[in-house]
């Protein structure tokens, strides 16, 4: 290759197929560019940049009875403001509205969040928690569908090959009318801060019986990839929502942080911070106050 970077703005998926077919160099897809443009300044450059930010076929939010489908190039500002989506999956819209700033959310996309695989990416724990399926259009024009863990494999690492493109994210709508969900994040300030820690929770909650039938909890920014907190889930499953549950939940969160990052400098901070985050989540989910056990006002 000559070292020059070529650009292309295809109008549809067929045109992308024609572009990548037989192209021997490295290909980058750009949508929002909020990660890629910085990478272009710093690292090795691709031979071809394909802009997909204006492709209508990749920008949509659809729902049927048992799933929500989201186009990979859908901007986070559209996700954050989507009322029907907020009613079905508040965990996703809450995460989208806490990413970066207005300027970032207007450009950054859900597919880009996956492809960048940044450990602090706010949508990553949510998408793992919701057990999403990721549709990828491969360079050989076949389409494959993979689970979150099969695509995001490490810090900044994915299983996507050169010329592979994420096209669609499908999220199953589990637990019917019992489905509740929420997202919480701690950054250095409320806006524009990359997450130090975030939590996504999805539950099957019987509000009449006040009982958590099933639950999935995933933490982000605590390792190279989002981490499912099965030990915390076990504390909640099958239980009534009350202060005793809150106490056990917060304790289990701290224990999970201790297990995840033993000896890390941030452990001392995160094992406490996660309790505040846990309290926020409970209050967000159940709209009532819980007291952190053993905390005086001064400590809180």
């Amino acid at each position: 290759m000559t070292g020059l970077v070529q650009s292309a703005t295809p109008g549809n998926l067929a045109e992308i197929g024609a572009l990548v077919d037989g192209f021997s160099g490295n290909i980058s897809y750009i949508a929002g560019g909020t990660d890629l443009v910085i990478a272009l300044e710093q690292g090795p450059r691709p031979d071809l940049i394909i802009d997909i930010s204006r492709m209508r076929a990749l920008n949509f939010i659809d729902a049927d009875v048992d799933a929500v489908h989201i186009g990979a190039a859908t901007p986070l500002s559209i996700l954050a403001e989507h009322r029907a989506l907020a009613a079905k999956l508040p965990v996703l819209t809450q995460a989208a509205e806490q990413v970066g700033s207005v300027q970032i959310r207007n450009r950054a996309t859900i597919g880009g969040n996956i492809a960048s695989a940044v450990p602090g990416g706010d949508l990553l724990p949510v998408l793992k928690c919701l057990d999403c399926r990721i549709e990828v259009l491969r360079r050989d024009k076949t389409t494959i569908t993979r689970a979150f863990d099969e695509v995001v494999t490490g810090s900044g690492e994915t299983s996507l090959g050169n010329g592979d493109m994420i096209t669609r994210i499908t999220i199953p709508l589990r637990f019917g009318a019992n489905r509740i969900s929420a997202f919480g994040k701690i950054g250095r300030r409320r806006e524009l801060a990359i997450a130090r820690l975030n939590l996504a929770l999805l539950a099957d909650y019987d509000s009449t019986a006040n009982r958590i039938n099933d639950v999935r909890i995933v933490a982000g920014a605590i390792g190279p990839v989002p981490l499912r907190l099965r030990s915390v889930e076990r504390q909640l499953r099958g239980r009534a929502v009350d202060q005793a549950l809150a106490d056990d939940f917060l304790q289990a969160l701290t224990a999970a942080v201790d297990t995840a990052i033993p000896g890390r400098i941030s452990q001392a901070y995160k094992r406490h911070a996660v309790m505040g985050l846990g309290l926020d989540l409970l209050q967000n989910l159940f709209a009532r106050e819980f007291t952190p056990a053993g905390w005086s006002k001064a400590q809180a």
Partner: protein, 183 residues
Amino acid sequence: MRKMEQYDDYITARRLELPVPGGSSTITLRVNEVEHQHAAPATETLAQYLRNRPGLTGLKTGCGEGECGACTVLIDDQPVNSCLVLAFQVEGRRITTIEGLESADGTLSALQQAFIDHGAVQCGYCIPGMVIASEGLLRRNPTPDDTEIRRALAGNICRCTGFLNIIKAVKSVASANARAVPE
């Protein structure tokens, strides 16, 4: 003080120095209702293009990674960080920079005037981004409350920490809009 013409000479000189490597293609952008055509490499950011090719130096490149907001411009009325957009991505879209807010005779917009009236400008480096981000908010929502203003400006950092007067300036325009259009 240097005269404006000297700045124009400086900008022209800078423009001539710009490398236009072979393989660049022509990028046509519509900025403030004016069409600009320049050869530029595919990796050129919108901020680099606007500042160096047509010489629209109102926007500033502060951090170059979307943290500071000094390079904010509107694309189809939506605020974005122009340092994180490649110029070729926005061909055919409507781009508004700080230079596009004043009227043809040089009269400042109500929002720009409010920044002056409220003493919202200190060193001034963040101000083009602050004004454009506020303009984007007001085009979407002419009567934002304090929380909405703060959220809309969360991506813009003022190193002089003059946030309160900036928020007051935007609030004054929002209040004027509220009076003009009774609910």
